[in-house]
Amino acid sequence: MFELFACMLKEEWRVHSTMFGNLSFALFPIMIFGIAFMGSFLIPLMQVALPAGNLTLIIHANYLMLGIMVGGFGLLGSEAMNRRFGQASLLASSARSLPLSEQFIFLNFVVKDTVYYFFLWVFPFGFGYILASPFTGVSWASALLLLLTLTLSFLFGLCGVFFLSTIYARSHAALWLVLLTLGVAWAGLATITGTNPVLFFPPLLLNSTFSWVNLLVSCAVLILLFSIAIVLFNPESVGSAKIYKDSFSPLIARFPFMPHPSLTAKDIIDLYRSGSLIGQTIFSFLLPLVIIWFILSLLGPFYPPHGLLFIIAITTGVIASTMYTWITMFDSFGSYACLPVAVSTLITSKLTTFSFLQVLPCVFIAVVALLSGEAAFLIPAVVLAVSVSFYAVAVVVWLCGLSPTVLVYDVKVFFLFLVLVGIVLSVFTGLIFVNPYYALSSVVLAIPSWLLVQKAKRRWDSVDPAGF
């Protein structure tokens, strides 16, 4: 077990570090540490406007979402390893030539991902908070407890998605049944206790009142979910003998007005046939957003009027921008290297497909607006979400070209992304708190977005196309 695990860990490090240098990649967790350390000094200021419990809630929600995003990426059913490693023929697939079961390889893969991303994201954040605690008046014990409960939040997100995605790979009906059961349980708990069920989230309970029993229960739930997922994992491709009728030609005929109909049609087929369109929509879009919506709704009294809808619109915009990774995960430029296609052409076509997908955030915002009785602000909220999404994706395209999921771990790339997107989000958060209709002014983001995309096309056409 350990040899394979250690080799996978080494491999993951080398995959990232060879792309942008050991130092650049090693600086990534240090930057997270720095952000947490410096951010800790703002806690006393934040607590003036926001009670400590709510701040804890937000941080836990972020780590739960991080776990969901990490778990959701590439762990969708039988294509799990193929998508993540596929043509690269890395250990996850090449280890199949060894006398090891698929479950065993997958277990190693999952444990490796957990450890790797823990040290990349979770530990640096918690460590920054711990080191800052003597200066911020927070006790060592509560800082350590926070690290523990954030780790648990991250793991709940990771194994929750892992659990749901393996069920999804086995049976779509079973997934809906599980989700329905969870929904009924959620509603039942809320009705019986009269409390928002979010507050029963085990890591949160543990953080508010530590007890060994709570810790054991949390760990038991995690182990149970992980174990079920490992047992249910089905590496066999059910589609190997399947015959498909031609969907490409009818689809291409529907998009004559698109800049590159053939490339867009291919992207849509990739999304549909891989199961990503449904899988990613559930695990990487709806699930995180619904959780964020519930959590942010607890903070309602601290927002100005209508503030919640617009905060959700901004968050939806940022998460919707990650849909670009749904489209770019299927192929590298290598797939097109024998065709007369430039990187800039591919960027245009991927952004066209991305534009189609923006109907999802629009629908989500519409549902939130209707359910929260804010239908009057639907249009400015949708404009804000879509503008933020296009702006954030333009920044990603400029920084990462066709390889967003890989290059984002370059510390320079990640830092620039945080700065460029963070400034814009802060400005528009301020504006909507002054007047909700100022959200309409976010259409001006179309200008920097367009400029960034043009710059990105020139940039990525002038360098050797990345093979990842």
């Binding site: 399947k242 031609d246 969907s247 291919k266 024998c338 007369p340």
Partner: protein, 244 residues
């Protein structure tokens, strides 16, 4: 062949990957109607040469002109005119073989793709796989598909990295015949391989690359006239590791 049109011209072509010099100052000329074999051991720079000639990677130094188009400044222009079979067969995962050819036709503006595709499905004997997803095809069938996409627009020049590597003996024979017939029609083929017997059998000219340096270039007929065989010539040259 002094009057033949130059199809590929490389001058002082070099490529470095960090500290590794994959191709080092290579001068190469390929004329119209040649079935040109670029030979060399593993890691000699053959694939990098093909990638530079087709604009898939930018050279560190030198120039490459293919069918009169500069591969560095207009890589898409080069790829529009030629057919390419890359080292690793990589058709998109979630398209069927038939859809992939329709995709290639749409990108290359090839008319009447259905008829042409049907001919290729029959010729390479994979009509029963045309509705199967590319990711579920065997290596050999994927190679057939990549072979088809490279020739379906009948390019004046095709560049093929290891043309026979995934084919069974029957298919190898078929493909060798196809390639020799193709150049007889006035087209040019540039293959890279380390299967010397195949190169000797089908190539009219060859070049030997070793550790990124060009050791030899000339017609196969020259060797035949000296009663020498390509494999033994190749091995002695590589062992000497110097210019002839």
């Amino acid at each position: 062949m002094p009057n033949m049109k130059t199809i590929i011209e490389a001058r002082e072509l070099s490529k470095n990957y960090g500290d590794v010099q994959a191709v080092n100052n290579v001068d190469l000329t390929v004329r119209k109607g040649a079935l040109f074999g670029l030979l060399g051991p593993n890691g000699s720079g053959k694939t990098t040469m093909i990638k530079m000639l087709t604009g898939q990677t930018l050279p560190t130094g030198g120039t490459a002109t293919v069918l009169g188009v500069d591969a560095q400044t207009d890589p898409v222009g080069v790829r529009r005119q030629v057919g390419i079979i890359p080292e690793q067969e990589i058709p998109p995962s979630f398209l069927t073989a038939q859809e992939y050819l329709a995709f290639v036709a749409a990108v290359r503006n090839i008319p009447d793709i259905e008829t042409k595709a049907e001919w290729w499905f029959e010729f390479l004997d994979f009509a029963d796989k045309k509705q199967v997803l590319c990711k579920d095809l065997s290596r050999g069938t994927r190679q057939k598909l990549m072979f088809t996409q490279a020739f379906i627009h009948e390019p004046e020049l095709a560049l093929i990295d290891e043309p026979l590597i995934n084919f069974d003996p029957i298919m190898q024979d078929l493909v060798k015949d196809y390639l020799t017939d193709y150049v007889k029609k006035g087209n040019t083929i540039f293959i890279s391989t380390h299967i010397l017997e195949v190169a000797e059998e089908i190539c009219s000219e060859f070049a030997i690359l070793h550790k990124g340096r060009l050791l030899h270039t000339g017609p196969v007929a020259e060797l035949t006239a000296r009663d020498e065989h390509l494999p033994s010539f190749f091995l002695s040259l590589i062992r000497k590791g110097s210019h002839v």
